[in-house]
Symmetry: C2
Subunit: 461 residues, 2 copies
């Protein structure tokens, strides 16, 4: 009998209790962006710290930040020769509107078929309860072969404003070998996956001003320049028709994919991309497949444009100002600061003397790559294969999870993205759900992962 067999059996025999715990935390409306849910936020934090205490964690604390508290807990009983995993998660959820599109109440979990419907069921209370239930099973089976530190924040859905300072301030407390980020998912119920790369982001607002206030286009058209047109000229010069970005030196730091890296990407067809996006025609650099373009290539997008008169009908105004929101998704080894320099250089070289301009840096995150042959990825891969019966695909995400690069930068450790949400879980939307078979498999996968990872990491500590 394998050493984790009792833990797996315990998990198997306690599915109902796991489901009840999931329902319990889903009933707490911990919406981080709405002040009227302040009490629910506290309630969720207390529920989690109570669970960690029940598990016998040595030190459990609800630690205040400038906004919502972070639940911290540690289990260091495996001793200094065993590896330590920092488990990251968040207990806050998105608002629920439009409420009338929900088939059941968002904070009254309801099972329909294989799914449990509630706000936060997939993002990410389902994942939080899965890891807690895996630990409970191992503690109950008296087999917990490594050390754990928990960091559960309550601000992820509002951009984690307090997290950077918290990690910086508690570097020593949080020191670990790897971060297990459970805010993640797989590709389909029968297709386990591991996310091994995330794109970075750098987001700017560009503002042009040509003259003091709006002018009459009849009186001054032809004599006074137009900020809306200049903005369009500048934007047009940033990206060509094939999607190639024209900012000076933009690709200098891009690490080209190896053939092996290209080969292991999941093969998503053009049809898959068309259907998922609701479009008729794909776009982009034809040297790369759509999946490669969406996950491994940097991009430049205009997220918003505003100038002059935008109401109904005609108003012959020569606008004084024009604004564009410009964001770029970055890939290894691009650095937001160098991209910002490139954008400023571009603006300096191309903005005509009729305009003054400014750039506001609105947000940025470095791209993250998780070494596919790291012990954590190998252990997770094995664990997934044991539970699902097939090997996971190695997925690269087009989006950005800033906490991953934050933890890499401040704590110097990699993250492993291991969670069990599904692409069709409607996270952030109405009728969010958790696929229950994936939830139960998730608990088992966490047990296997911890066991395998502890074995391959005995020398660390």
């Amino acid at each position: 009998m394998s050493v984790i067999q009792p833990a797996l059996e315990y998990a198997q025999n306690n599915k109902d209790a796991s489901l009840e715990d999931l329902k319990a935390i889903l009933r707490i409306a911990s919406i981080s962006t709405l002040p009227e849910h302040e009490g629910d936020i506290s309630h969720a934090a207390e529920w989690l710290s109570g669970k960690l205490q029940d598990l016998g964690f040595d030190s459990v604390e609800i630690m205040p930040t400038a906004k919502h508290p972070i639940v911290y807990g540690e289990w260091l009983k495996a001793g200094p020769d065993s590896p330590t995993i920092l488990v990251y998660g968040h207990y806050d959820v998105q608002p629920v509107d439009p409420l009338d599109e929900w088939e059941s109440q968002p904070f009254e979990p309801e099972i329909r078929g294989d799914n449990l419907y509630a706000r936060g069921a997939s993002d990410m209370k389902g994942q939080l309860v899965a890891i807690l239930k895996a630990l409970e099973a191992m503690v109950h089976a008296a087999h917990m072969p490594l050390n754990l530190k928990f960091m559960f924040e309550g601000e992820e859905e509002i951009g984690s404003p307090s997290l950077p300072a918290f990690i910086e301030e508690h570097k020593d407390l949080l020191a670990s070998d790897v971060c297990l980020n459970t805010d993640s998912g797989i590709l389909a119920p029968d297709q386990p996956a591991l996310t091994i790369a995330l794109r970075g982001l750098t987001y700017f607002e560009i503002r042009l001003q040509g003259h003091k206030s709006d002018l009459h286009s009849g009186t001054f058209g032809g004599v006074i320049d137009n900020p809306a047109i200049v903005l369009c000229q500048l934007v047009a010069g940033m990206r060509d028709r094939q999607g190639k970005i024209l900012l000076p030196g933009f690709y200098d730091d891009v690490r080209e994919l190896t053939q092996e890296e290209r080969d292991i990407l999941p093969s998503l067809s053009d049809e898959w991309w068309l259907e998922s996006s609701g479009t008729q025609t794909l776009f982009g650099e034809d040297r790369y497949t759509p999946t490669e373009r969406a996950t491994t290539r940097p991009t430049l997008d205009i997220n918003g444009l505003l100038s002059g008169f935008t109401g109904e009908g005609s108003k012959t105004v020569l606008p004084a100002k024009a604004m564009a929101k410009v964001s770029m998704r970055l890939v290894p080894d691009q650095v937001p600061e160098r991209i910002q320099e490139s954008l400023i250089k571009y603006m300096e070289e191309n903005t005509p003397p009729t305009m003054t301009w400014e750039i506001e840096d609105l947000s940025s995150a470095t791209p993250a790559i998780i070494e596919r042959d790291s012990e954590a990825v190998k252990a997770a891969s094995q664990a997934l294969e044991i539970v699902w019966g097939i090997a996971p695909v190695f997925n690269r995400a087009g989006g950005t999870v800033p906490v991953v690069s934050l933890i890499k930068e401040i704590l110097g450790i990699d993250s492993l993205m291991l969670g069990f949400g599904l692409p069709n879980d409607n996270i952030h939307g109405p009728n969010e759900k958790q696929h229950l078979p994936s939830f139960y498999r998730g608990i088992e996968t966490f047990i296997h992962f911890i066991e395998i990872f502890s074995g391959t990491n005995k020398s660390k500590g």
Copy 2:
């Protein structure tokens, strides 16, 4: 003694009465765009028709339209051998906000120095009363050497929506030799001017759509095209950095200025243009002076831009749609319909297959040119020179007065722009004023003009 000496003396001796009439109509808050001023609109129309009746006009009528009525009146006592002038004006005014920037109440006329302050004092009740007082003087002196038809509308400040149908429907009634458009002005109290050209206008809204609804720029950036960027690329291709318009065939119909036409333009310095616009740097085709560019050259401007997320902060949206308001000022002999064809051709040739697009035609007016050696312009020029002591400059306006091209198209007659507003009268703004010495000179100028024009046109009728 000149035949008009008695009329001029009457005008001179009745300055106070003229001022009182001006004050009387200025007290009527005939704001055309606000439904609560419906009664004031009627009141102003009645006041004007009363004045025409007092003058002994044969037929005076308040004629209904779909919205605000048109005051029509005719004086045909000079007989069929004498020329007929159609006098155009409007009795409606702009709203008054911001009210707190007015130094006196907008509908309680107040004299400060040489000026009378009230909404509509310059635009254009001052000009309406000036022409009425000129006619009163001539009628009183029993010398009215030509026929007159009056058409005073109440919708000019809301874009004259009922006027085209009205003119079309009353073609025969309105038939005349020339239109005297009194909605005009001079350059300075000591610089009479005649506007001999007006630019046309064609105004479009361009809408692009790339996909059904906004997408996540992390998930789809690099695979799905961006309507905001495509819109910028399209706009950037419409005009070069020097202001040259790049739509196919855009300049085909432009009649180049003769050297003589260039020579007679008022010489406004670069400093004048910089100061009037509140800018640091002028712009445009350097083959032309700023005054030439602003009044005799066609232009293309973006009046508004809108796409995606325009609030504070960052939202990583890949917008589904983008919109631009695009307007062009046209010069002789450009035709709005041909410019629209050119824009459509440009869109067809340049919009990528990732986008669907549509163009809405929001408004258009053909450019107008008033023949400088026409009898009307020559008569007005002489009249101005007699009253002011110096010859008028021939001004070309960069803006558009659609009624001028409307009357040309439907009635087949030219307009003479003869009014006495000043550039600094603050029309449409707070503290609008009428410069009273220019108002009194205006009355005398109208008397001279009618007399001179009737003499040079004895053969017409």
